[in-house]
Symmetry: C2
Subunit: 253 residues, 2 copies
């Protein structure tokens, strides 16, 4: 199964969700490959992979300086492997990367090899609806959309639904697993109001029955280079990500 975590809006928790969903699935026994298609390459920091050996990734598959087998790497976390963004994170020209990724046969190859190796694949994507995101949508099986409870959330959700429909290949679009509220701040009256509006407009099963709260432990874990589900499993956001993993696993059967 290839699950893409997608939202064109910036800073809504795509990376945090992809990292923690991947870690939660691995904790539950799955062999997981976390793929970072964002030229900003935040996944590397989220997993604490700081050495020089953590530099190769998708960029090297695109320019054929590495093969899948020596681009994928293990992580400190059992059953969790990662395919990082690669040397593009040192570049300040992401447009070229989006174009290369959008057109390259290496993208289909890497997803094919991941599936052949028996990985459950979780894909982190950049913000915006550029070449990378559109290519990932056309190659994945299913899509999860993190949604922040802020005023433009409903506009964001209808635009991404269009993007998913347009990604259909041979008439088949990826399955939308659903929208999940992220970084939810229950101390904000506005967040509560927007969340209620979202619930009215995006009924179950479109809006998943899990809310990821904003917690200090989540950002502390990122700074420490560990998924919060590993570092602080009793934290409310960690528990919510574990429930999200269970919910998605049940649906998959």
């Amino acid at each position: 199964m290839i699950l893409a975590v997608v939202s064109q809006k910036g800073g809504v928790g795509k990376t945090t969700t992809a990292v923690n969903l991947a870690a939660a699935l691995a904790r539950n026994g799955a062999k997981v490959l976390l793929v970072d298609t964002d030229p900003q390459g935040a996944v590397r920091h989220a997993l604490g992979l700081r050495g020089a050996q953590a530099r190769a990734g998708i960029a090297e598959l695109l320019n054929a300086t590495r093969q899948f087998g020596n681009a994928v790497r293990p992580t400190p976390f059992a059953r969790l492997h990662v395919l990082l963004a690669g040397a593009v994170t040192e570049s300040a020209d992401h447009g070229a990367y989006h174009t290369a990724f959008a057109q390259s046969p290496a993208v289909r190859e890497m997803f094919g090899l991941a599936a052949a190796h028996g990985y459950t694949v979780v894909v982190d994507t950049p913000p915006g609806l550029g070449g990378v995101t559109r290519r990932v949508l056309s190659e994945c099986d299913s899509v999860l959309v993190p949604l922040q409870a802020e005023p433009l959330a409903l506009q964001t959700s209808s635009q991404i639904l269009r993007g998913i429909r347009e990604a259909a290949r041979d008439g088949v679009a990826p399955t939308l697993e659903g929208f999940v509220l992220t970084m939810y701040d229950d101390t904000s009256a506005m967040s509560k109001r927007v969340a209620d509006t979202i619930r009215a407009q995006l009924p179950a099963p479109l809006l998943l029955d899990v809310v990821i709260p904003r917690t200090e432990a989540t950002i502390e874990a990122f700074a420490a280079g560990q998924p919060v589900v590993v570092r602080s499993p009793d934290d409310a956001a960690a528990k919510a990500y574990m429930r999200l993993a269970e919910l998605l696993t049940k649906r998959d059967r």
Copy 2:
């Protein structure tokens, strides 16, 4: 003066900063043009421009279905005009827009006409370092970088510095006005720690001496379609944006 608000990181307050800086400068007497180069087109909602007449903008300049004079529009706020993103906000293919924008002569024309009309120009940009942001960096006079106090802020800042250098035309790069801490949450121990690290690594004048706090009034204002400096001038974020406008105006002389 053409000032671009830029950060490749998502959700750090680019739009909120561009909108409120533009509104603050207009309140202080300048004739201001706020330009939305982000295909997500959030500026339209930030200014409460919801009618069908608010649909035309940069996309129509790029495909030559409109001219500068009938793409720029007034707003409910004195001396503040806006050039919106245009019909691209209905599209789910932003890659095509980035490419068109990056290559079009219409982009230099619109900035030239804005300057000729005596506007102070403030430019909102998309996240990422794609074609639109790189083109804006090569056309603007100065750059302001909103920075959120989160663990990857320093990586983000060094990457954008590279982007600014690479944007140099004929050896001249835009002036970096500086970095400004945004959405600052002083109830978060992590935010304080990161802010201290940022201050140590980005000394004045690189880090501007204004901090924009996270406030409920800011997000309420966005939902109400007004800049917070207009709707809630006594709010701490509104006052901080007014101070930012003064600081940048002083430097400009």
